[in-house]
Amino acid sequence: MMELEEKAEELLETLWLGTEERNEESLPLENIAEAEKEPLSQLLKAGYIALSDDRVRLTERGRTIARNVVRRHRLAERLLVDVLGTGGMLTHEKACRFEHLLDRGLDESICALLGHPKICPHGKPIPPGKCCQLKRTPARKLVSSLSQLAQGQMGKVAYVYASESGKLQKLMAMGILPGAPITLIQSFPSYVFKVGETQFAVDKEIADSIYVRLVEPEDAGEIIEKELPEPGRKLRWRFGWWPRRK
């Protein structure tokens, strides 16, 4: 497979958002910003997209690539928000810059480090990778769903993933909101955990939807470096603002 330029990847991402996530077949050309149109011909030639009646659509091959770009973009967002704690400063551009660095293989490692997240911080779905089916777990995770924690393990709530608002409200009522300290006490026959001074018992479904941050941002860099294969190392020097250990 040919190496794609960053710009081409951006365009694939735009197309994915405009078609797949809106249940549309294709996207009118005019909906694409002039500045983004540059790599159109490259993608056409590679057979990733097809043009008809002034509308663009992703081909089968293009869809696979675009799906991956989106996956990496959203994983990058998760990494920035949950682990590096850039909360308010999260911008699309920053995530996009990051996403191109999460090459194949690397995205799986990051995904595993993040506990195979299902949604991005904006609540959009993260297309699952092979790693998610295999539930691969690295030696040390940065983020994990509550159900995957070991007994006695503690951390802080990173975010909750709730498919329906009723569930979200229940979790909020229990005080399970980002930043709350949480400890898993027991995982069978039901999950028992402690938030603040209160213990709660929940079923697997709810335990699956609570994601826990296991490390402080300062320590994240080092763990990522250890857990990631070779290409990951460059992340750190490419982004000088990466928080350093105190």
Binding site: Q169, K170, A173, M174, G175, A180, V195, G196, E197, T198
Partner: protein
Amino acid sequence: MRLWPRIGRGFGRGGCHGGGVRLGDGRLRKVGVVGSPNVGKSVVFNNLTGAYVTVSNYPGTTVDISRGKAKIDGEEIEIVDTPGMYSLLPISEEERVARLILFQEKPEVVLHVVDAKNLERMLPLTLQLIEAGLPVMLDLNMMDEAEAAGIEIDVKRLERELGIPVVATVATTGRGMETLRRRLAEYVRSRSCAVAV
């Protein structure tokens, strides 16, 4: 400085009638006891009224409203015990019942009972009650358990921060309940007068 005008506070509540006098329509002044499940609302209710409503150690004991009368400072006050509520946005039937009391019966004072050892989880409801313009008083209950957990609370400071009366109690032993009664009486009186102004 007031950041938000006191809109809607106490719509339709009776005017000032002075101490010990019933409100215009002959109804007693009312205190609504609210809070999350299993924080000791019913123990507080029993203590104030001398009646008995069921107290148990699990959430969801109280599913209905109980009413009783308390004699505080020589004045008879109606006390209403409600099922537990986590927030003003109800998820379950009992929460809806509890909210109805707040919105429709307009008690002179809303006594928010909380578990002192879980203050962080409990305060959002206090904030919502204040937001709703309700006359809130906060009861930090289960102080014994909070102390055992090594938690110390600066009650005066919390009172200043929130701008509402705050008391600390151990409802099961009666510790702090005298203060609660006194502050409640003061507050009930000041509330039913403040509205008329």
